[in-house]
């Protein structure tokens, strides 16, 4: 048997935990341990040794890998075949694994234009809280047999089960890419970024940072050349570095000294054309205005009220009290469904208890 396949050992650990009602904390590369709430104290279960690309045929546009596979290894294999993970996942560290990326449903700057991590999930193999190994979805693009459990798993922060293996749709890397930037106000940037949504140009990134609106154009050589004449702005040198730093939170904005003090980094989701919110703090707008980062001392309750009025929601991404609700609280009936779903996968509530919500 493949020594990188430790699914049976993991299954045994879950069966024991089920028997003894032992809470488990699922860990991989540890690069995303700062996300989410403080889970209840639990016995770690390490999936990082369950690794390896199980299947990858570039012609099928599908890659299947075990959860512990380093994201770097997957991206290197894809790059060799001229392909990529089109949701451009942030790594937040060299140790990032596929499992953690899917469990946290993290997507990068390309998200509004190509889709999110969950959009590219085609199937999974998982361990539920009864220690059963289950397969959902598959390795094909279209599959409507059974409920879409594999996409449900994206963003559950390990609370429903342990992802063992995920199959993802992958895409060709664009042949060419260029970034243009122009100086403007936040309101102007929002208007121009949202205006691009109605244009058939091959835009795959748009953000507003440091009084400049950046637009990334990617596609065939001719498409990029043509779009360059239609989208205003100066060509940015070393643009790949900029988008990488944005994706990985390595821009000075995300490394500001105030974040080690009282300030928190908030992730604010609104409709992209929402005008600038008048909330005190420093802003960076990504995803064409749909995902806004705010560095602020403002308390979470006040902030949530203001953002809710604009139809959005808030996550405390970095800093603050990780024992409070980090993610936007759910309405009563929705929370009930979440709790019942959690119980249906994990009846003894052993997985990552409290990591997503206190009551989950």
């Amino acid at each position: 048997m493949d020594e990188q396949d430790i699914s049976l050992a993991l299954q045994q650990q879950v069966l024991d935990a089920f028997q003894n009602k032992t809470p488990l904390a699922i860990t991989g590369g540890g690069s995303k341990s700062f996300l989410g709430r403080t889970a209840v104290h639990a016995q770690p279960i390490d999936i990082s040794k369950h690794r390896g690309i199980v299947e990858y045929d570039p012609c099928e546009l599908v890659l299947t890998a075990r959860s512990g596979t380093p994201l770097q290894e997957i991206e290197a294999a894809l790059a060799e075949a001229g392909q990529m993970l089109a949701f451009e996942p942030p790594h937040f560290g060299d140790s990032a694994t596929l499992g953690g990326t899917i469990a946290c449903a993290l997507s990068g700057p390309r998200r509004p234009y190509s889709g999110s991590a969950r959009d590219f999930v085609l199937g999974c193999q998982m361990l539920n809280g009864r220690g059963e190994i289950l397969r959902f979805g598959g390795q094909v693009m279209k599959n409507v047999a059974g409920y879409d459990v594999s996409r449900l798993m994206a963003g559950t922060y390990g609370t429903l089960g342990i992802l063992l293996e995920t199959s993802l749709k992958v895409l060709p890397r664009p042949a060419a890419s260029i970034t243009v930037a122009s100086e403007c106000s936040a309101a102007e940037a929002i208007a121009s970024m949202s205006g691009l949504l109605g244009k058939p140009y091959p835009v795959d990134g748009a953000c507003y940072h440091g009084d400049r609106c950046y637009v990334r154009i990617s596609g065939s050589a001719q498409a990029v050349k043509e779009a360059r004449t239609r989208i205003a702005g100066d060509v940015v040198a070393d643009a790949e570095k900029f988008w990488h730093a944005l994706r990985e939170h390595e821009l000075p904005f995300f490394r500001h000294p105030s974040l080690s003090g009282k300030a928190r980094l908030y992730r604010i989701m609104v409709k992209p054309a929402t005008p600038p919110l008048s909330i005190e703090g420093s802003w960076l707008l990504d995803w064409g205005g749909a995902q806004r980062w705010l560095r602020s001392d403002e308390d979470i309750a006040t902030l949530r009220r203001r953002v809710e009025l604009a139809g959005g929601h808030v996550t405390v991404f970095r800093g603050g009290d990780r024992d409070e609700e980090i993610f936007q609280p759910l309405s009563g009936p929705l929370l009930t469904i979440h709790q019942r779903l959690k119980a249906s996968f994990d009846p003894k509530n052993i997985f990552n208890r409290g990591r997503l919500y206190a009551d989950l």
């Binding site: 598959g138 094909v140 065939s220 409709k271 929601h313």
Partner: protein, 493 residues
């Protein structure tokens, strides 16, 4: 779980009285004649009159109906336009058929945020028509898009010929309003690109009316491509056509549409709409490229080169929009075209990894000889979704049964090569037994548990989409002669 409602006449009358006090008289149908249009969906071999048909027009009415049915433990089946192909909207004799036909308003169009909010009874194509003035459209385009409604599209996770590039329904919606069996109104997803908590939007999409009644849908809109162009290529061998598909993708091109038809489908389509297809070809490929002007020109040149290099006997680019439409018309009318050359046909919907295409087509052709039934193949080649159309005559004794068995074996073959029993038509009642081939008992039990999280009393569309474990045991026993027992651990009865 099987539903065992006591068939109590007094209870039915009580429910009827309550429904009539809730809805205007013309919105509660009980006469067989009035209910006839609701007895089946697009899969007309299954027919059943419900106990009553209701046609609410407000969300509050839907909530009241659900509370009533929940209180009286009466099952409910939701229905959109009834164009589904797997019997998902087949009524229950002791159940309420809840039609969403009156929910047909477009509630808002927001071009700045690239979204529109519509009621579930709005037709798929009507959304694109309504937003065309902004240069936008709604991408998923199932072949029934003139008639099918968005609520049904969500329930079935419908695709279309453009889904390799633009995704399925699940990739193109943002938010749903859903009424549960208990009558609660839930907002699932958000107007923002993601929403807090579990991705219930993914779970709800394609759930075939088993988890909730969809009463409002917010869809994502896309900018209409500046230009679309289609290339037609003919091949003297289906294997070469299949390889050409792989080569296009390997070249880093994602076509907007990539369709394949075999000889019988070509002939039938050509006779029907005169699309200009080469009749003697063993297979044709239709490859559509879209994007900006320069982008399409560049891709067309590359694709033509690849097709010629793959051994195409002919490569033609549509000269104008009219010819492009004509090329597509042939493909889009393939099903009715086959309907003209045979008294009946049965459409299958498996998906396979594309590399398995030559093997699968060979097996289908061998089985065609074995069963003495002709088959025409239409293939969404880009995403591996195969539609073999089995030609038969229901008036000939035993032919329907032979057709169904042939169809089952095709689906079994799809699962064996790593594919699935349904790419886009759904499980419904039609493929409920084949679910036992694709999923084991623990997986099916997990599905039932997921349903119970939304619908603890099991009253929403019971008996569809997910088979009970005893049903799979019986199915396994019935089909033991075709291979190994699928559930050897279960008792047989």
């Amino acid at each position: 779980m099987p539903h065992n409602r006591k068939n109590d006449v007094a209870l039915n009358i009580g429910l009827l009285r309550a429904l009539r006090s809730l809805l205007p008289p013309e919105s509660v149908l009980v006469d067989a004649e009035d209910m006839r249009p609701f007895e089946c969906d697009g899969l007309a071999v299954y027919r059943q009159l419900p106990m009553v048909v209701v046609l609410p027009e407000t969300i509050e009415q839907v909530q009241c109906i659900m509370r009533l049915c929940h209180a009286q433990q009466v099952p409910v089946v939701a229905r959109g336009a009834g164009t589904g192909l797997s019997g998902g909207a087949l009524p229950l004799a002791d159940g309420v058929l809840l039609s969403l036909a009156k929910f047909k308003r477009i509630l808002s169009i927001d071009p700045h945020n690239a979204m529109a909010t519509v009621q579930p009874g709005v037709r798929n194509l009507a959304i694109s028509e309504a937003v065309a003035t902004y240069g936008m459209y709604y991408a998923p385009d199932p072949s029934s898009q003139i008639a099918c409604t968005i609520g049904g599209n969500v329930a079935e996770n419908s695709g279309g010929v453009h889904c390799l590039k633009y995704g399925l329904t699940v990739h193109n919606i943002l938010m749903l309003k859903v009424v549960t069996m208990e009558g609660d109104l839930l907002t699932i997803g958000a107007e923002t690109l993601d929403s807090p908590g579990y991705d219930l939007l993914a779970l709800m999409t394609g759930s075939e009316g088993m988890l909730g009644i969809i009463v409002e849908v917010t869809v994502k809109l896309l900018a209409k491509p500046e230009r679309a162009q289609v290339v037609l290529a003919a091949f003297d061998d289906v294997v070469k056509a299949g390889e050409a598909v792989g080569s296009i993708i390997a070249a880093g091109i994602i076509p907007a549409g990539l369709e394949m038809m075999d000889n019988l489908a070509i002939q039938a389509a050509e006779d029907f709409v005169h699309a200009g297809y080469p009749r003697d070809a063993e297979a044709i490929l239709l490859c559509e490229l879209d994007g900006t002007h320069a982008e399409v020109s560049e891709y067309i040149a590359t694709v033509r080169k690849i097709l010629t290099g793959s051994g195409a006997t002919e490569v033609r680019t549509a000269v104008d929009e009219a010819e492009r439409q004509l090329f597509w018309k042939g493909r889009k009318s393939a099903f009715p075209a086959v309907g003209r050359i045979s008294p009946d046909y049965y459409c299958m919907d498996g998906t396979i990894p594309r590399r398995q295409l030559p093997h699968v087509l060979r097996r289908i052709s061998e089985m065609s000889a074995e069963y003495g039934l002709a088959v025409a193949n239409v293939f969404h080649a880009g995403d591996g979704n195969l539609h073999p159309l089995i030609l038969f005559d229901a008036n000939k004794p035993g032919e329907l049964e032979r057709t169904e068995e042939y169809g089952r074996r095709i689906l079994q073959l799809c699962v064996e090569v790593g594919g699935t029993i349904t790419g886009e038509h759904g499980v419904g009642i039609e493929k409920i037994d084949q679910m036992c081939l694709q999923f084991n008992n623990t997986e099916l039990a997990q599905f039932h548990a997921v349903k119970a999280a939304f619908d603890p009393s099991g009253l929403l569309n019971p008996g569809k989409a997910v088979p009970t474990l005893p049903r799979c045991a019986e199915f396994g026993a019935m089909h033991v002669h075709h291979g190994k027992l699928s559930h050897p651990e279960l008792e047989r009865f």
